[in-house]
Each structure stands twice: as structure tokens, then as C-alpha cells.
């Protein structure tokens, strides 16, 4: 189930990345970021209904979920959030300066001069 969700999120992310509006592009970035987080989470193997910590009484490893991917994803979510905030602020500043939301206007720095 989750793997299908990852696929859908990646598809939606790529679709949004290819749109002309900068805002939709940013939404695409956020989709991709979440898809990647979920991918990391499930690729390490999901264990349903088990705690991820050792309480001293548990001796059998198979009764525990792997805490590592959870820690990784937590870090990745925080980083992704920071990046999303920064890119939104950048977009706002760009809109203030130029008044456009069109990715096709981003030609200046590639022009032959």
C-alpha cells in the first residue's frame, strides 16, 4: 500500500515540477521530498505493531521494529521542511522583485552575452 503511495507521490511530484508556475514547481519539490522520506521509511522494512525501543524485558530481536529508519526519516523531514521554507521565501522575494510567477521568464542568466 505504502509503496503505491510513494509511486503516486513521485509521479505527482515530477508532474508538478514540469509545470510552468514557480509555485507549482515548489509544490512538486515538496511532493518529491515526502515521497523520498516514505521510500526510506519502507525500504528498510516495516514491522507492524512493535515498539522500536528496548525496554529491558524484550530479548527476541524479531519483536522489535528497526529504530534506525525512523531516526533517519525524522532528520530528513526536518531538513526537508527547512528547505521548503527557504524556497518559498526565495520565491516570494523573486515575485516581489520581478512580479512574475512564470518559469519561462527565468531565461536571463542563460542568455548568451
Amino acid at each position: 500500500m505504502l509503496s503505491i503511495l510513494v509511486g503516486v507521490l513521485y509521479t505527482a511530484g515530477v508532474y508538478m515540477l514540469l509545470r510552468r508556475s514557480i509555485l507549482k514547481f515548489i509544490i512538486g519539490i515538496i511532493f518529491m521530498s515526502n515521497a523520498t522520506n516514505l521510500l526510506v521509511f519502507i525500504s528498510a522494512g516495516l514491522v507492524a505493531g512493535k515498539p522500536a525501543f528496548v525496554n529491558g524485558a524484550t530479548t527476541n530481536v524479531s519483536q522489535l521494529a528497526d529504530p534506525m529508519p525512523q531516526a533517519l526519516v525524522l532528520t530528513a523531514i526536518v531538513i526537508g521542511l527547512g528547505m521548503a521554507v527557504f524556497i518559498l521565501a526565495l520565491k516570494y522575494k523573486y515575485f516581489e522583485v520581478t512580479g512574475t510567477d512564470d518559469l519561462d521568464q527565468l531565461k536571463q542568466t542563460d542568455s548568451q552575452k
Binding site: 521530498s33 525500504s43 528498510a44 533517519l72 532528520t75 524556497i87 522575494k93 536571463q108
Partner: protein, 496 residues
């Protein structure tokens, strides 16, 4: 060995201190002196490495492979020393060349966080930790590139940010799959598991995700478009900092990953690396030849030179790896030098357009001499550093029978020489164009020459003492090709 963490702690402490003390006079001192402190620590770590062997530190007291481990081997140490030299130079350069719209303290704050991220990427022994340091480095560079808040800078910033973010996602995805397959993220542990593994094809999925992710960071052939679109927009100080350091971190991770644990299915990877290397060299070199703006020429030229480093990795003999490391070190110095020189030309003349300037050789012979050293080093003219780097790579290529890529490398050398001679002819030799004759040149004071003098001296010294630099890079290559020493020092935790 707690000193191993110093390359991370010093920039962190300096960045925090810049937040606490906001006076510009303090920033003026903290910037260069702090960078110099990082340089001294790197040199100390390097000499320590020579006497004691590979240095490791288990962060937080957790033993490898469970905790995060910091490792300094020859490759990390060499990169640390040269990159901190670049930091010193750029911090001096910033004092004189930052424009008024960028506050000095704010620049140095992000300068040190960038330094922290970069040093972290060089010395970490854990894949996820590497990802975190990459993000530290990236977010600092995002802020730096958009600092002037002008239209082109914001536009360049969006392009830079978009492609690099996608690169980060691919990196994270590759890392997740790698963890799913092996159950560890410690590099030495990965190396031990994957080197004894015979299901090579399974690793290629994560391998290719890492390849694309690092390819975006290092700006190799089909993935380089963010670099020329953004590098010429910010202040020249920031461009110089990026040009000298950022792409080389990508190259470093390439060398680390593809020698340490992605060593299965070698024919596939080496062919892929060699083909992209060839295209990177030629296309970067040709694009550089078509521009008449110094920063754009030099930006495309960065891409062209990345090709040589990847070529060394693709040939994969000890000599070739040593050549790639030598080339990376030489390129950090010489490339930074070329950008510093272009900044000085622009300060004198007020423009980066080669068509509008000229006559600098007559007016300022000192700058001409200082420019010609990094330019000739980049073109690979003996006895400067670039000659030995290219010689090692080409010799390795012939010895290993990779004739096509070696021929491409030799021919690209001509393109490099062409673009350097173009800058030389246009800016220094030809007369000042008539329509610009009324313009008054800005006079440079002696501190303006200091950064470029340091770099030119470093480049010459690296050429003169090529034998000892060669032996260090050979040592680095041997450690990379035969990583049992690396694995043992991390996993058995034999504290030196």
C-alpha cells in the same frame, strides 16, 4: 583522538560567535583569523596522520558501526588542507571585494557554516551523516548565492536550488535503498559487506541514484546546467568560494563511494564514468570557448576540469586515482586563482566583458604575472601544478589501454589553453577599445593582491615539490584501492 572533530567545531564556534558579536570590526578579524585557525588544524591533522595512520573518532561514544564515526585518511586530510587554504584566501578576498549590499558579518556567518558542512563531508565515515553535511553546505550556499537580492541572483538562485534539491532527494532515496539492502550506513561496514557480496546487480539501483545525485553536485555532463546558469550572478567573492570548493566535494564523494564500496560490476561503472568524463571535458571546454565574459568562461571551464577528475576514477589504477586526487587539489588552487584574478580585473575596469577592456599588461604587469600563473597551471604547462596532474592521468590512461579517453583529454587541453589565451589576449595584450578610452581605472591597493599572491605561490610550490605531493596522493590512492586498512581502523577501532 578528539582533535578529529576540530575541523567541525572551529567553524561552528566561529559562526556562533559572529551571531553574538555583531560589530563589523570583529567580523573583519574573525573571518581571516578563524580560517587560518582551520588551516593550522588541518595541517596538524595531516602531520598526525603521517605518524599515526588513519585517525578515527566515534562520536558520542557509540562504537562503530552503530554510532557515527569520523575518519581521516590521506584523501580526507589532503582535501582538508587544500580546502582550508582556499578558505583563508577567500576570507582575505572578501575583505576587499565584497560590495556594500552584503554585510561582512552575515557573509562570514554563512562562510563558516559552509566550511563546517564541507569539512564534515570530508571527514565523516557514515553515509547518512554525509547527507546531513551536504544539506548544511547546501543551505549555506543557497543563502550565499541569493545574498545580493538582485534579480539575476534570485533567478540564478532558483535554478541552483531546484537542481540541487532534486539531487539531495536522489541521494536520500539511494541511501534508503542501500540501508534496506545491507542494514548499515557505516562506510567501512558497507565496504566489508559489499566487497564479499556476489549479487552485484542488486547494488546498481542504489549506485545509480548516488551517481546521479553526486553527478548533479559535481556538475558532470548531462547534469551540469545549474552551474553556468548561477555561478556568474553573485558577488565575485561568493562565486570564487563556490568555484573552488563545492563541485570538488561532489568529486570527493564520487571517489570515496566508487572506490570504497561500489566496486561490484566494475566494467559497467568504469565505462559509464569514462563516457560521462569524456563528454564533460569536451562540452565544458567548447562552451567556455564561445563566451566573452570572464566568469562564464571560467564557470564552463570548471565543468571541463571535473571531467579529468572523473576520468581518473574511471581508469581505476592506483596511478589514475592518485592523478585524480592530484588534479582535484591542483584545480582547487588554480581555479580559485583564476576567479580571484577575474575579480581583480573587474574591480580595475568595472566590467567582466572581455570586449570592453584591454591594455592591462601595460598598466599593471604585476596582475598579468599573477594571472598567468594559475592560467598556465590550468592549461597544464610545466613546471606548474597542472602539468603533473595531467601527466599522471594521461600516463595512467595509456598504461591501462584507455586510448580514446586519453586522446580526448589531450585534445581538451588545447581547448583549455585556447580559453585561457583568449582572456590573456583580450584583457591584457590588446589595446583599450576606443569607445572605452575615457574610463578611469580603479587603482588596487596591496591587500588586493594578497589572495592571488598566496594562490600563485601555492600553485608554483605544488609544481616544484610535485614529488612529495605525488607521494601523498599515491598513498591516498593505495589506501583507496586497498581499503582493508580503512575498514580495520574503523571497525576494530584500533585507536592510534
Amino acid at each position: 583522538m578528539n582533535i578529529v572533530a576540530l575541523p567541525l567545531l572551529i567553524p561552528f564556534a566561529l559562526a556562533i560567535s559572529l551571531l553574538l558579536f555583531r560589530s563589523p570590526t570583529i567580523g573583519r578579524w574573525v573571518g581571516p583569523l578563524g580560517s587560518f585557525a582551520i588551516f593550522i588544524v588541518s595541517l596538524y591533522l595531516f602531520s598526525n596522520l603521517q605518524t599515526n595512520g588513519i585517525l578515527t573518532l566515534n562520536m558520542g561514544g557509540w562504537d562503530a558501526p552503530f554510532g557515527i564515526v569520523l575518519v581521516i585518511d590521506y584523501l580526507s586530510a589532503l582535501m582538508l588542507v587544500v580546502s582550508s587554504l582556499i578558505l583563508v584566501v577567500v576570507s582575505l578576498f572578501a575583505l576587499r571585494f565584497l560590495t556594500d549590499d552584503i554585510p561582512l558579518n552575515r557573509f562570514y556567518f554563512f562562510f563558516f557554516t559552509l566550511a563546517m558542512g564541507m569539512n564534515g563531508a570530508f571527514i565523516t565515515g557514515d553515509v547518512f551523516n554525509l547527507y546531513v553535511w551536504f544539506e548544511v553546505m547546501l543551505i549555506s550556499s543557497f543563502v550565499l548565492i541569493t545574498m545580493g537580492k538582485k534579480k539575476e541572483q534570485l533567478e540564478g538562485g532558483i535554478k541552483y536550488l531546484a537542481l540541487n534539491l532534486i539531487g539531495s532527494f536522489l541521494f536520500l532515496a539511494g541511501l534508503g535503498l542501500l540501508y534496506g539492502k545491507t542494514g548499515t550506513l557505516n562506510m567501512a561496514h558497507l565496504a566489508e559487506i559489499l566487497r564479499n557480496d556476489n549479487q552485484a546487480v542488486l547494488m546498481n539501483t542504489s549506485g545509480i541514484l548516488f551517481f546521479v545525485a553526486f553527478g548533479i553536485k559535481a556538475a558532470i555532463f548531462p547534469l551540469y546546467f545549474w552551474l553556468p546558469a548561477s555561478y556568474h550572478t553573485p558577488n565575485i567573492t561568493i562565486t570564487t568560494l563556490f568555484a573552488g570548493l563545492l563541485t570538488k566535494v561532489g568529486v570527493y564523494t564520487f571517489i570515496r563511494f566508487f572506490t570504497l564500496f561500489f566496486v561490484q560490476d566494475q566494467p559497467f561503472w568504469h565505462n559509464l564514468l569514462l563516457i560521462t568524463a569524456g563528454f564533460t571535458m569536451v562540452i565544458g571546454g567548447m562552451a567556455a570557448a564561445s563566451y566573452y565574459e570572464t566568469r562564464r568562461i571560467l564557470s564552463y571551464h570548471i565543468i571541463s576540469q571535473i571531467g579529468y577528475m572523473i576520468m581518473g576514477l574511471g581508469i581505476f589504477t592506483p596511478l589514475a586515482i592518485a592523478g585524480a586526487v592530484f588534479f582535484t587539489l591542483h584545480n582547487m588552487i588554480a581555479k580559485t586563482g583564476a576567479f580571484v584574478a577575474s575579480g581583480m580585473i573587474a574591480k580595475i575596469k568595472g566590467t567582466y566583458q572581455l570586449k570592453e577592456i584591454g591594455g592591462l599588461y601595460k598598466d599593471n604587469p604585476l596582475l598579468a604575472v599573477l594571472f598567468i600563473i594559475p592560467a598556465f597551471a590550468l592549461a597544464g604547462i610545466p613546471p606548474l601544478s597542472g602539468f603533473f596532474a595531467k601527466f599522471m592521468l594521461i600516463k595512467a590512461g595509456f598504461e591501462n589501454g584507455n586510448y580514446i579517453i586519453t586522446a580526448v583529454a589531450l585534445l581538451t587541453g588545447i581547448l583549455t589553453l585556447y580559453s585561457m589565451i583568449k582572456i590573456w589576449n583580450e584583457a591584457f595584450l590588446k589595446k583599450q577599445p576606443d569607445n572605452q578610452a575615457g574610463k578611469v581605472d580603479v587603482k588596487l591597493a596591496w591587500p588586493d593582491y594578497l589572495p592571488l599572491t598566496i594562490l600563485a605561490t601555492a600553485s608554483v610550490l605544488m609544481g616544484i615539490f610535485a614529488a612529495s605531493v605525488f607521494s601523498y596522493t599515491m598513498e591516498a590512492a593505495n589506501q583507496l584501492i586497498e581499503p582493508s586498512h580503512y575498514i580495520n581502523s574503523v571497525l576494530k577501532n584500533k585507536m592510534p
